[in-house]
Structure formats: structure tokens, C-alpha cells
Symmetry: C2
Subunit: 214 residues, 2 copies
């Protein structure tokens, strides 16, 4: 297997985390997004939508999108429940992660860390307020449950861990969210856990006016 | 089974469509969103997030979110592939539907039909442009494929059909998207097909200034 991968992206990190916990061998293909490496004709054959991560299976098929890759790799393992009701709950949290966590927390981290927004810009304030609401939803669930689905660690936790564990890089304070903080500690204690997210490099800072990202 | 359901919502319609195609009996529990029926203490026990649809299983468990309900109901049927790679592709399209189709096309339909935006408002123009990009992504895929995953009708089609089949109610013209138009016709020919989406009623029009929805 090959993973087309960008080290500072937590969408990519989620897949690396599951691959490590499954003990699977794979070739990591680093894609320098800001050097234009997703914009080549070659990359269009990997993923016409030009996003990372993309998994290439042993028989050469390409699978984009972190949630889809997690679901594929976890099939038949303890990282996704067999029970249809619990598996549907996993899908529900995977979608909440993509529509709320990535949008608000991942999006703000990207804009602040790559200097597309400053913390005092209005666009940052709006995302900050929406992100606090998202963190509160997660915290409320984790006050009553050790993990997101069926009281055991699954790809729902891996997906949500991706951007919440670096929420401080988006300017969020986790002090008011004790359920979330305990859960972050529980995830980091899981067998095979790794954390190898890299900071955004110098070439990620835009040459253009920041205002278009507001 | 019970379905907590709002007739003008296409998220709810997706579930009704699959239930009809599976030939399953269920009790429909109409929830008048704009009369405040999702805001009661009773509804908080059905779904703390206060959204529709929610499926209540025969043994009394509650499952919110259309994509999760589709995945649950389709388990073990021809409406979701057994193959892990193809099922991951279904997850990928379910997420694209929630992050792009619902956001741009469903969101604009809601705002126009309930008079929270006028077609010439800036917020409508932004969503219109983003919605055209989404329709183009779908059309491009459907130019080469009869359905979204594995060349056969699945819950990925049902999910995406929900809001695309009423894209005209959001002001979109499907004339430039022949692949999408052919697929809409193919879906409507599937066994057990129903279409029972109702228009937004009078109580959906807001008493407050439209500007907060821009």
C-alpha cells in the first residue's frame, strides 16, 4: 500500500495513526501541497479532487478522503464495530467530524498557522465561536462515555482526535472541557499510538492578501 | 420502527425513500419544526441535537442523522455493497453529500423557500456559485458512471438524490449537467421509488429580519 500524504495535515495523520495501530506496512509518498504537487497531471490520476490523503491499495486502486480510508482499513478489525447499529453511529460521528470539527477547528488551525488569518480578524472570531460550540458537543458526549461509540476505541475516536488534539494550535482552550481532555489522554494511551504531525512549513504562508481567506 | 420526520426536509425524504424501496413498515411521527416541536423536553430524549430525521428501532434505540440511518437500514441489503473498498466509497459520497450537497444546495433551497434569503441577496449568490461547482463534480462523475458506487444503485445515490432532485427549488439550472439529469431519471425508475417531499409551509417564514441568514 501507498499513502499520498502531507505531514502537517491532521486528515493525513488520522490514517497514519490507524495504520500504526493496525501494524500495517506501507510506503509513504510525501506530497508538498504548497509546492504545487497536487496540481500535476500525475496527481490528477491519483485523485481528480487533488486532496490528501489518498490510499493506493496493493492492487493499484486509489481511495481518497480520510474517513473513507479509515472505514476501509478498519474493516474486519476491532477498530470498527460489526453491529449495524453501532457501525451506523460510527458513520454519524465520521460525518460530524467532517462537517463540524474539520470545518471549524481544522479550518481555523490552517488559517492561523499558515498566516491566512490573524487571531483578531473577524473571520477568526466567527470560527472561534463556532469551534467552541463543537468542542462543547464533543465534551458533553465524553462526559457520559469513555469513547464515541459503544464504549470502546474506534475509528470515530481516531477521526475526531485528528484535529481536536491540536485545537490549541487554532487558539482553543480545552480547560472548560474536562470530558474531552480525559478522552484525549485515553486515546494517547492506546496500543500503537503515534503522534507525528509536523508544523506547517515556510512555503505554506501565502504571497497574496490575507483578506480573501476571511 | 418509528421515523421522526419533517415532510419538506430532503434529509427526511432520503430515509422515507429507502424504507419504501426496502418495503419496510414503520410509523411516521411528524415533527413540526417551525412550531417548536424539536425544542421540547420530550424531543431532547429522542435527539439531544434536536434535528430530524431520527429513526427509533423496534427495541427503542434512537438513531439520528440521515446518512447514519441509511447505513443502518441498508446493512445486509443490495443497497450497500459488501466489498470493503466499495463500502468505503459509499462513505466517501455520504460525506461529500453532507459537506457539499446539503451545505450548498440544501442550504440555499431552505433559505429561498422559507424566505430567509431573496435570489438577489449576496448570500444567495455565494451559495449559488458554490452549488454550481458541486453540481459539476457530481455531473463529471456521472458522465462516466451510471451510479455513484460500483455501477449500481446504492444509498450513495439515495443520499445525493435527496437535495439534487429539487435543485430547481434552490434556483439551479440542470441544463448544463446532462450526466446528472440522466442519473436523476435512472433513480426515479428504480423499483419502489417514491417522491413525497412537501413544500415548506406558511409557518416556516421567519418573523425576524432576513439579514441574519445572509
Amino acid at each position: 500500500m501507498k499513502l499520498y500524504d502531507y505531514a502537517p495535515s491532521c486528515n493525513c495523520y488520522k490514517v497514519r495513526l490507524l495504520l500504526a495501530q493496525l501494524g500495517l506496512e506501507y510506503e509513504r509518498v510525501p506530497i508538498d501541497i504548497f509546492a504545487g504537487e497536487t496540481l500535476t497531471d500525475q496527481y490528477a490520476r491519483v485523485n481528480p479532487a487533488r486532496t490528501t490523503p489518498v490510499l493506493q491499495t496493493d492492487d493499484g486502486r486509489f481511495l481518497p478522503d480520510s474517513s473513507a480510508i479509515l472505514m476501509y482499513l478498519a474493516h474486519g478489525t476491532p477498530f470498527v464495530p460489526d453491529d449495524p447499529f453501532l457501525r451506523a453511529q460510527v458513520v454519524r460521528w465520521l460525518i460530524y467530524e467532517q462537517t463540524a470539527v474539520v470545518m471549524m477547528i481544522g479550518g481555523l488551525r490552517f488559517r492561523l498557522q499558515t498566516e491566512r488569518l490573524r487571531p483578531d480578524d473577524p473571520g477568526a472570531g466567527r470560527r472561534q465561536a463556532a469551534g467552541v460550540a463543537v468542542l462543547s458537543v464533543l465534551d458533553r458526549h465524553l462526559t457520559d462515555h469513555p469513547f464515541f461509540v459503544g464504549d470502546r476505541y474506534s475509528i470515530a475516536d481516531i477521526a475526531i482526535y485528528g484535529y481536536t488534539h491540536v485545537a490549541d494550535e487554532a487558539g482553543f482552550d480545552l480547560e472548560p472541557h474536562p470530558g474531552l481532555r480525559s478522552w484525549l489522554e485515553r486515546v494517547a494511551l492506546q496500543p500503537g499510538y503515534i503522534e507525528d504531525v509536523e508544523p506547517y512549513p515556510a512555503n505554506s504562508k501565502p504571497p497574496v492578501s490575507r483578506s480573501i481567506y476571511d
